[in-house]
Structures are given as structure tokens and as C-alpha cells.
Symmetry: D2
């Protein structure tokens, strides 16, 4: 696993789907969080990133591993309306929470994409129980490896994660 | 091949992309025409219909076989704007002409979809050199079979098609 | 289509499977013949060549297009026994005739492979109704294109093929 | 994970490939062991089981997770000779140790297949650091889930596995 131990920046979200109330990383402390960034007209997001996010969601217990879809883009801003995202979620039968990244009036890169320095979509970010970024990948990622990495993260107790983090 | 010999209804189009001027089936008489109906948020269109249309376009000589993408839908109408289709065409690098089906103010089914009695997307319609519908399929279709059917249609001379059609 | 117009050399076969009697190209004159060369331990043959041969067999009428599997190899000769081929045909549920290429005591390249100057497996040879080689491909080939080429060959009458051949 | 906690029976092997000396589960105690049973002419083994074993081998550190391919079958016994397996290993570029299951003169089911009560191929067995069977699956298995399960097993210390096992 890429030895990244940065604290995961809080999400900045314009609109949430598939959840009663907004989610925050702070509120998810104690769980492993998978942040799957995608864009509905990006071929690699649709062919690889989104289906993989769905497989992660179906593989792990939701109260242990929380999958969040994050729609984000640095282009085609006039195309991505709330009805587009709603229709996409319905057509692809996504069950996990999906967020629409918060636009930045000052430029084309929305806030969450900027905070995480994402290079585009699909991007996958694994956050451990203590809120640290443990992996950040751009493009297609192997299912076997992602499964292994999330599986390993779920075995860390919250206290162990704390110890590891303090030592880092 | 399904023995369909109906005359192909003319296309009704709101906006054309990837072409200098509107196309008409009348103007394409003498060529084989492949009408590939899709919807940008429909999983089967994106995973199967659109890539197959692209393979048809890459396999046959364009002055012999004309591929037309037709974006059409009976739902999510608020989602499908011109910028969405523009972004899709750019992201998926489509080179063949794409039409946006003409909405029907009287109901959810746009005009071309209605004229062709399409059941949804993806739909594939093969039209022979004389303007007759020779195949109309809904859902995923085998590449080998479609290749064979288009290959056979290209071997019909215009006059032969005429003869066949008169005899029918 | 590659403009190859060589006369297809007759097959030299050690053992036939899935047929009551030996087949010859001479006896198949008037039909389109698809010769699909494979080797049961060759990854590309098993993943791509053999399944494609099966799709060709399922797409075209057998009295119009005859598919022949030809097991051939220039190496691992001690591995390829008749029981191996029998088990393979049963496990992969092949229904079309399969031939075991005739070994050449003088060297590692069996007779049919040598006559056709095959570079290895999988190889695909299309033979028209008049016995002429019209395509010879090594490695994976696109289903759409192969479908189109066989579809076009089936539209050639035997007399047309004769004319074309005489003119060449 | 299937809550199986049987002690993994020792392997019975006729011939080893890709290893200097015979492996035993006893000698691998302390490591996670992945036993991937396959048959070279079984379509699901070749399309799914063997490539997955290779992805496991490429994903995990070999001194932590040992992958063993086990060729086994209850039929076609005359087909599976040592040269066949040698050629297969070479053609598919397998780098991990491969064993040929020991035939049972008394019947068609070889010894390791019988000891593990395998239903056929492909079969996948996960053995923890303390030698206990933790998963036994027949047929295709999801990469994400297998990755997660092996990833979790690698996080168990040998002493923890011992404790768990004693308590069971």
C-alpha cells in the first residue's frame, strides 16, 4: 500500500443523493471510508470506477466500510446538472451515498477535487478508521489489490490505527 | 436476418452533431445505413450499443455503410441537454454523425423513436440501399451476426435491392 | 479483405473428430470454408481463437459455411495426444469437425501448418466457394470484421467466384 | 468468510513443478497458503481459476502468502501427462509452484482431491498461518472478495491465529 498518511480533508459537497443527511468524514471516524470519484460521461469512470465502487459496497459490511461516490469534474460544467446525476444513479442502481462536488466560483476545479489534488476521474481514496488517507489512486485499479488493502484496513482496530498514526 | 421489409421512416431530428448538414435517409439512398439508437445514461447503450456502433463505423467503408447515432429516450427528459450530448461525443471520441431525436410536445416518446416503434435503447436498425428496414433489434446484439448481416447487405447492388423490393 | 487469391492447399490430417468421414477441401467446393487453427495449451487459441470459431459455427448455416478446427503446433509434440484432443473437444463442447494436423517426421512443423505457412496459433483462413484463400490471419481478429468478410463471401455465387478467380 | 476451521489435510503429490523441492503444508506453517486446484482442459479453470491464482501471486508478498497450483481431475486420466502440464505451465507463464495430484489406483479421484472433498475444478482453498482451512470455494469467485479475505488473513499474527484456533 502506498505509505500515505495524510489526514483526509473534509468533503465539500453541493448536493447529496442516497442519504437522509449529509455525511462528514468526522462523523465516519471509526469506519474505513472508500471515496470513489467519478464523472458520468467519463468512459473509464463508467466502465471501471463506478462498477468497482459497487463491488466494494457489495463485498464489505456497510457499517464497517462506507463507500461514498463523489461526482467531480474539471470540465463540461454546463452538462452536469442535478437531474443528470439523479438519472445516472437510478439507471446504474447505485445504492451507496453519492455526493456532487462543490463548485468553485473562482475556477474550473471543484473544492473536494482540489483539496484531494485529484488528477481526474476515476480516482479512489482509502481512508482508515482514524481519518488518514492510506491510498490515493488515479485510473483503473486491480480488484484483487483493492480488496486486499481494504480487507487489511478493516483488521486494524481503531486503537491500533491511533498508535500507528501517532508513531508516524 | 429478420425478414423485415418495411420502408424506413425518415428521421426527425432536433440537433445534429459531427456533420456539416442534416442527413436524411432519402439523401443516403444507395448506401447501407446503420441507425444506432442510444441514451448516454443507459448502461447497456454505453457498455454495448455505442461501442458496437463505433466498431461498425471502423469496419466498413463510410461511403458504403453510413453509421448514424440517434440519441433517444422516453424518460429523464430534463437530463438530456445539448451540452450533455456534446460532452459525451467528445469523451467517447465518436466520429460518426449523431442526432438528437426530436421531442414530441404531446408525450414522452420523441418522434423518431415513435416512428420506428423502438422499445428503448440500445436499438439497432439496418436499412438497405433501397431504404428498406432489414433488421430491427432491441438490446445487445452479437458482433459476428451484425457483421455478417451488414456484410451481406453491402453485396447487394442497388438494382438487386430494387428487384428484391419490388418482388416483395 | 486481404486480396489473397491463392488456391487453398488440401488439408493433411492424422485424425478427424466430430465427423463420420474425413473432409477434403475438394469435397467442400461450393461452400465457404473457415479453417480455424488452434492448439489446446495456447492461451490465445483458447481465449480467443476457439470461441470465435464456435461463434462463426453458430452464426452461419452449416451447409453454406463449413467450420473446421485444425489442431496444429510446432512445439510440445509429446503433449498432444489423441486423448488430450478428445477431452478438449468434450470439455469445450465443440460441435464442428476438428482435425489433428499430420506430423512431419522430418521436422517439428506438421504438414498442414507448413502448406499454409502458418506462423502459429490461432490462425484463421477463409476459403471461398471456389477453393481460393481469401484471408489468412494470425492472432486475434475482430468478430465484426470476420462476420462481415464471411457474410460477403456467402453472397458470392459459385459462378461469380469462378469469374473473379479466372480474371485474377 | 465461510467459518470453516478444519485442519488442512497435508498435500499428496505425484510431481512438483516450479520448485526445487516438494512443499508441505507443515513446512509452510506461519504463512497464509492459497491452494488453487485446476485442470488444464477445464474451461472455467483456464478462463477464471488459473488467471485468478496468478493475480493472487502477483498481489501478495510470496513470503507471506504462498500460492500453490494443484492439477487435479476425476476424469480424462489418459490425457493428463507430465508433458501436458509442463507445456501448460510454460505457455501460461506460471511462476508459482504447481503440483500434480497423486493418482489413487483404487479409483478415479486422486488423493488430494479426495482429502479436501473437492467437487471439481476450479476450487480455491485458503489456509491460515496456523494450518486451518478458512475458505473452500468451488467455481468462479469474485476477485474483490478473495482479495479482502486473503488481506484479512495476512493481518492475523501467528499467535492470534493460534489463540483463535484453540478457542474454536
Amino acid at each position: 500500500m502506498t505509505p500515505q498518511t495524510n489526514c483526509a480533508p473534509e468533503l465539500l459537497v453541493q448536493t447529496w443523493f442516497n442519504t437522509d443527511r449529509p455525511l462528514t468524514l468526522a462523523g465516519l471516524r471509526g469506519r474505513v471510508v472508500v471515496l470513489a470519484a467519478f464523472q458520468v460521461l467519463c468512459p473509464n469512470s463508467v466502465a471501471s470506477g463506478v462498477p468497482q465502487a459497487r463491488r466494494i459496497y457489495e463485498t464489505f459490511a456497510p457499517d464497517d466500510v462506507t463507500v461514498i461516490g463523489m461526482h467531480t469534474t474539471f470540465e463540461h460544467h454546463d452538462a452536469f446538472t442535478v437531474p443528470v446525476l439523479k438519472a445516472f444513479i437510478q439507471e446504474y442502481r447505485l445504492k451507496f451515498p453519492v455526493a456532487l462536488d462543490q463548485p468553485n466560483p473562482a475556477g474550473p476545479i471543484p473544492h473536494t477535487m482540489e483539496r484531494y489534488k485529484m488528477r481526474g476521474t476515476p480516482s479512489l481514496v482509502l481512508i482508515d478508521r482514524y481519518g488518514m488517507v492510506r491510498k490515493h489512486a488515479f485510473g483503473a485499479v486491480d480488484d484483487m489489490r483493492i480488496g486486499a488493502e481494504i480487507g487489511a484496513l478493516t483488521q486494524e482496530s481503531e486503537s491500533a490505527a491511533l498508535t500507528r498514526s501517532s508513531a508516524a
